[in-house]
Symmetry: C2
Subunit: 269 residues, 2 copies
């Protein structure tokens, strides 16, 4: 259960629907929320209508922006800003009215708590906002976000090298086997023997952010061209619990088994 393979990565519609059932059957209905009753208004209407307008972007240019934006907004904010900043100029609304700067709080796995790496959180915000959430009629935004977390977890990062690095020392690469900031940063700090406050650690995170911005843009461009086939999976549908896919790393050999479905009580005849 602890090892992740890519033998079976194309999620089936059946599996997706079983996941939806596991998380909350009956919830897959769009447009019933407290926002749907409001009177029409330009941006407000655009913001909850999917997909958002998308023009293909240059992945390398996007990554350079993300690298530099990291030094202003950190990981999550920088991924969003690198893509929405360009689309704000090319397409205008609803990008211009999205409060990107607020997402600096994704830093350090949400305000330094080491939960989801902001690169992953930012990537999921981007794919779900542009392509749309699954209640809008397409599962692609969610599955692309999931694919990006899998890519992050299983790639030796950072892969992107900026044109003008702020730190010229060699930055080692590490594979996190996890979408979590604590594990990703911790493994890198151990491999590099550098503390959290070091310029090298900061530049490593800026380059990881840029690597993610590059990859998100590549996938969005494929999607725009109608060529995107998802590799995204929903782990909760596979494991019987919401989960990343490195069970052994925390549980050792003693991986708990989720409770099984109970038989229905016999009904009176």
């Amino acid at each position: 259960m602890g090892d992740k393979t890519h033998d079976n990565v194309l999620i089936t519609r059946r599996r997706l629907l079983s996941m939806a059932g596991a998380l909350g059957a009956g919830a897959v209905v769009a447009g019933l929320g407290p926002f749907s009753s409001g009177a029409g208004a330009g941006t407000a209407e655009l913001a909850q209508k999917w997909p958002w307008p998308y023009m293909k972007l240059d992945p390398a240019e996007t990554a350079e922006i993300a690298y530099n934006e990291w030094y202003r907004l950190f990981c999550g904010g920088a991924v969003i800003s690198s893509i929405f900043g360009q689309l704000s100029k090319k397409a205008g609304e609803p990008y211009r009215s999205f409060p990107v700067d607020a997402f600096i709080f994704l830093e350090g796995g949400v305000s330094g708590w080491g939960t989801i790496c902001g690169s992953n959180a930012g990537a999921n915000i981007v794919t779900n906002l542009i392509i749309g959430p699954r209640i809008s009629g397409s599962e692609t935004g969610m599955l692309m976000g999931s694919e990006l977390m899998d890519w992050y977890s299983n790639t030796a990062l950072p892969v992107f090298v900026p044109k003008k690095p702020r730190v010229t020392a060699e930055i080692p690469t590490t594979t996190s086997n996890s979408p979590l900031c604590h594990i990703s940063v911790g493994k890198w700090m151990k491999a590099a023997d550098k503390e959290l406050a070091s310029p090298e650690r900061k530049d490593r995170c800026a380059r990881v952010t840029a690597s993610m911005a590059y990859k998100v843009t590549e996938l969005l461009n494929e999607w725009k061209d109608g060529k995107y086939v998802t590799f995204g999976e929903i782990p909760s549908a596979i494991y019987g619990i919401t989960a990343q896919q490195n069970c052994n790393e925390c549980h050792g050999e003693n991986i708990p088994t989720p409770p099984a479905k109970k038989p229905e009580p016999a009904k009176p005849a």
Copy 2:
């Protein structure tokens, strides 16, 4: 290191600035991003100007909305929707143009990956969007978000009982000692002996979401009244790595020590 106490919870400005240094010194400068060069436009201007307009809300009513919204948008989306839906009606923009429905992807710790519980992610989105990110000049939104994650981790949840529960069986409470969905849901599933797809697990998560919406509203109301004093801490500033605060639970007794700061090389005279 593994035990969390509340003996010293008021973060000092010095500690906060040291945290900012650890994460990326020099980045605490507002308004230099790619969005700042655009021409003025109503909602776009409002969206990145903080604080957003806030009118006090009824915590119990907000929690009821969140409970029911869980069955449409799950944890993260429901926390945001319960508060922004009301403020959208009371204050209009920039709430009306925020794409709440997209945040259904926070379900199951981000698309079923078990990372940050959506209640925590949603709460942080709400506090940082309303009060503002720390680059807007106030650290309160970030620290309130951090306080809410601490409250989530150290409280037997759910505390909120809806007026008309969809599941009438008793729902046990559990303390997660973690802001992560996998750990929070896993401990509850074990205590309740219920599988992920069970109606009880779903209603438990709906009630946890409602409990968080209640607590967020209480703190925002205090803030509106000028009475909010934060208990929020930034763990990365304390632990030398981005971290939740239950080290032993994954590491056992063998908790790694983060690399120490290296001495500066001697400079030529």
